[in-house]
């Protein structure tokens, strides 16, 4: 209902301390609400199977409660048209997420990740408080309405932009503000990770889209900055993903990459606003919003699949898995759908949103006769991101599901129960549907794009006029048909297949340990990008003609967290250690401080000048 184009419906409700608050539903909010409610429901069903009450008596009920609270918080912040209602929803969501992340609070890793998340989210909240305070000062009210042109000065506009970028960027996971993301998403239970990656990151994106479109007359530098941030997030996110060994941490870094792609679309849209080019705006924003939906679909699917894998194999490290497609066929199939979708490959939905962004980026260059915008250089960067994502997901899929198990002594994996498989199916079907019939989304995207952008442009060209989604859909449908035919054909010929051991150029006795492992697969790309990744390696020391058993370990830490923030924090702690002498833990000392402060304050009331003159100068 909300997705129909047209003016928004706004309802006021009284909030005595802050003027009247207002909530309203327009097409943009409705667009973002769809994945929240879809995944809120599916994830809860998954959680029943994944985190059953019987096995986790302490945390299961808490998990369900905070799940509901998080969904409610997100819903509130999406419909809020008043700054304080927005912050209320935001804080409810952020704090519920903290409790969700630390569901396994017996693990030290989980606690650490939860605390880093808490610090990051409160930094973001503080920045947002600053932004809203400035908003109130600049516009005189807390209502979230577009600011009129020229109503506030350039300095205020820039300050609002940067505060919004930092505050929402911390939540969305833009590099370099992503440092909390890998730990939090890796250590949370899988359906919680799915919601965090798939839905909660998008709240940061929603905030950016909503606020940046409320500010009038953006300079081109803003759009350029967002585009550059998006490109670097995308590239570095996927490069870090390739170096990870833990399946959930890897998927978390891919979320950073996809947020980068979303920001590229948003940057293009902002450039379109500055240059008054409606086609850039429509293509960029439509690509951004469609990728929001697509990412929430396939990332949730991938995390649920990863949860299934972790549940079945009881292991999170890719290098110890293998051959799970035999024992977990349904999970393998759904994970393949998710992997193909996230790489942006043709018949599925990832291709459609990346297509829109590409068209927009190419469009900045192909204007006959006009100067070319530097934004077009982002198109090859996006191509590189796509190729790297493809490499990474081939690695994950191949190492986890294909080949032979790398630890043959462990118990075989079990397929997940139906309760866990069932929620993955609608997500996979939606991926195929959006990929096969993208033209259906044309009107929806038009409404969602028009909602924030109509303040500046009178009429926006519809998405279907700018991008031939119908043709893309036709090509995808034909591809799916061909694949289905081939599959049927092969299935009918299946009886005539003879099985033999892997030939591998004539190796007599291949073993599971001889398979290529995930870190070996990623080694070439890791060495190409070693300047960014800075892997830590512990090489074996081999001495003598009969050396003892040795092992090689290599880790890719998060560069921002482990190389920048943690050393800086340690240094600050050492610096402030000097102040520890004032904190002995004795109540008496603290009361003395209160007395001294009180005496000083009282003394400011005493007019010392007259007193001295009266005492001494008779």
């Amino acid at each position: 209902m909300g997705l129909r184009p047209g003016p928004a419906a706004v309802y006021g409700f009284p909030w005595p301390a802050a003027g009247n608050a207002a909530i309203g539903l327009d097409a943009l909010s409705a667009f973002f609400l769809v994945p929240i409610f879809l995944f809120g429901g599916l994830g809860s069903i998954y959680g029943l199977g994944y985190w059953p009450q019987a096995r986790h008596p302490g945390s299961a009920r808490r998990l369900q409660t905070f799940w509901g609270l998080a969904v409610a918080g997100m819903g509130l912040l999406l419909v809020a048209r008043h700054a304080l209602a927005f912050m209320l929803g935001w804080e409810i969501m952020a704090l519920s997420a903290f409790f969700l992340i630390t569901a396994e609070d017996r693990e030290a890793e989980s606690r650490r990740a939860g605390f880093i998340y808490l610090i990051a989210t409160h930094l973001g909240t503080l920045t947002l408080f600053g932004m809203f305070a400035l908003w109130r000062w600049a516009t005189g009210s807390f209502a979230l309405e577009p600011i009129a042109t020229g109503a506030a000065g350039v300095g205020v506009m820039n300050a609002l932009f940067f505060l919004a970028l930092i505050g929402f960027g911390l939540k969305a996971g833009v590099m370099p503000l992503h440092f909390w993301l890998p730990g939090a998403h890796a250590n949370a239970p899988s359906h919680v990770s799915a919601m965090l990656s798939g839905v909660m990151l998008k709240m940061g994106i929603y905030g950016l889209v909503r606020f940046l479109f409320l500010l009038p007359d953006p300079p081109a530098a803003w759009g350029g900055l967002v585009l550059v941030l998006g490109a670097s997030s995308g590239l570095l996110g996927v490069v870090f993903a390739i170096g990870q060994h833990d399946i959930k941490r890897l998927l978390a870094y891919h979320s950073i990459e996809n947020v980068g792609i979303i920001l590229m679309g948003l940057g293009l849209a902002m450039l379109g606003r500055s240059a008054h080019r409606a086609d850039w705006l429509v293509l960029g924003l439509a690509g951004c919003l469609l990728h929001v939906w697509n990412h929430s679909l396939f990332k949730s699917l991938l995390f649920l699949g990863a949860g299934s894998v972790v549940h079945g194999a009881r292991e999170r490290r890719i290098d110890l898995m293998g051959g799970l497609a035999g024992s977990m066929p349904w999970t393998a199939a759904m994970f393949l759908v998710g992997a193909v979708a996230i790489c942006g490959l043709p018949p599925l939905n990832g291709f459609v949103s990346e297509f829109l962004v590409y068209l927009g980026l190419f469009g900045t260059a192909v204007i006959p006769g006009a100067k070319v915008s530097a934004a077009v250089a982002a198109a090859p960067v996006l191509a590189m991101i796509g190729a790297l994502a493809l490499a990474c997901f081939v690695k994950v899929y191949g190492m986890v599901f294909l080949g032979t198990p790398r630890r043959p002594d462990s118990a075989p994996a079990r397929e997940s129960p139906v309760g866990m498989l069932a929620p993955m199916l609608p997500l996979a079907l939606c991926c195929v549907l959006i990929g096969g019939v993208p033209a259906l989304l044309g009107p929806v995207l038009d409404a969602a794009v028009a909602a924030p952008a109509l303040a500046q442009f009178d009429a926006l060209p519809p998405v279907l006029a700018l991008a031939p989604l119908g043709a893309v859909g036709l090509a995808s449908r034909m591809a799916i048909a061909v694949i289905a035919c081939i599959a049927a054909f092969q299935y009918l010929r299946a009886r005539r297949i003879r099985r033999a051991p892997t030939w591998d150029c004539g190796y007599a006795s291949p073993g599971p340990r001889m398979q290529y492992s995930a870190s070996s697969f990623a080694r070439t790309i890791e060495s190409m990008f070693a300047w960014a990744l800075r892997p830590r390696e512990r090489a074996p020391r081999i001495e003598g003609p009969f050396p003892r058993n040795a092992s090689l370990e290599s880790h890719v830490d998060d560069a921002v967290l482990d190389r920048l923030i943690v050393p800086a924090a340690r240094g600050t702690r050492r610096l402030f250690g000097w102040f520890r002498r004032f904190q002995q833990g004795l109540t008496q000392q603290y009361i003395l401080y209160v007395l001294v402060a009180l005496a000083l304050l009282l003394c400011t009331l005493i007019p010392f000048g007259d007193l001295i003159s009266r005492l001494f100068g008779r």
């Binding site: 942006g344 490959l345 190729a387 490499a391 090509a475 003879r498 030939w503 290529y516 697969f521």
Partner: protein, 302 residues
């Protein structure tokens, strides 16, 4: 209509002939007689007659690999124009579909390689992954130059670079991207100097390593698909390098076929003259391709 039929027929029938031409060129330059020109057709037919043998660890993904790779490359072939004849399927932005169809073929070939659970296939897949992430940006830079020159985003119009563009200031960028596209061609089809299609040393292979466990009809499909890929990329390059065309249809088709065969001979020449690069130098070659295409773009928009 007739053109479309000829287009599709050429697309599906000519590619193995290119392989024969390349091998015959190499043989002649080495002083041998070499295999017949139609050898590739005989090989594919022979393989199609054989039975299916599947590795014990392989799943349905292995069987899907060759089929999906073939369909993707064939679909990509339908997107490009041959000579002055339009592509059967064209819409704005189909260059992105072209690149990503190759990506899809690559995805399924690599997963089929990993499905066998052997180390050599993993090696080949890992190298293919690493090199593809360097060739994709180069390809997109080249497409950018073509798009700017032609003012359109459809491959059909982009690749029909008219002779006038050569004469006007666009000659230098076009030459640079021709070089870049040639390097991409060699990398994507795994020819010398990137990879040797005749080697049997697993430790040095890229493409050949990935298909070690494919046998029978699957190997035939893979062989046919790789020749299709070669043909498609040669056609793209031919359109860029040799934009001469007369107005007459009966003359232009042979001109186009001649162009592709000439390029195949050049590839054969290069394969005989050069040795394959050391594996760790290949990224430098690909980065130079990116630099060629990138500088072409900068030259164009300066």
């Amino acid at each position: 209509m007739v053109d479309t039929v000829i287009h599709v027929a050429l697309l599906f029938l000519l590619p193995p002939f290119l392989l024969g031409v390349i091998n015959k060129t190499k043989a002649k330059l080495a002083g041998r007689v070499g295999a017949p020109l139609l050898q590739a057709y005989f090989d594919i037919a022979k393989l199609a007659r054989k039975g299916f043998v599947l590795s014990g660890t392989a799943t349905w993904v292995f069987r899907a690999g060759p089929a999906v790779a073939l369909s993707a490359v064939a679909a990509a072939g339908l997107l490009i124009p041959f000579g002055r004849f339009d592509a059967p399927i064209a819409f704005a932005g189909d260059l992105i579909l072209f690149a990503y169809l190759f990506g899809m073929a690559r995805f399924f070939t690599m997963t089929a390689a990993l499905d066998t659970g052997s180390s050599f296939e993993g090696m080949g897949a890992s190298r293919e992954a690493a090199f593809s992430c360097l060739s994709e940006p180069a390809l997109f830079f080249a497409f950018l130059v073509l798009a700017k020159l032609s003012g359109s985003l459809s491959l059909g119009k982009m690749l029909m670079v008219s002779p006038e563009s050569f004469a006007s200031g666009a000659a230098a960028p076009l030459i640079l991207i021709s070089l870049g596209l040639f390097v991409i061609l060699l990398a994507e089809t795994c020819r010398i100097p990137v990879d040797d299609p005749n080697t049997h040393l697993e430790l040095t292979m890229i493409h050949e390593a990935m298909i070690l466990d494919h046998g029978g009809p699957w190997l035939g499909t893979i062989l046919y698909a790789s020749s299709l890929k070669l043909f498609v990329l040669v056609a793209v390059l031919a359109n860029v390098i040799v934009p001469f065309r007369t107005g007459k249809a009966w003359l232009d088709w042979p001109i186009f076929v001649g162009e592709t065969l000439a390029l195949a001979i050049v590839i054969g020449f290069l394969e005989s003259a050069m040795a394959r690069l050391k594996m760790r130098r290949v990224p430098y070659l690909l980065v130079s391709a990116i630099l060629f295409c990138g500088s072409a773009f900068i030259l164009l928009v300066r």
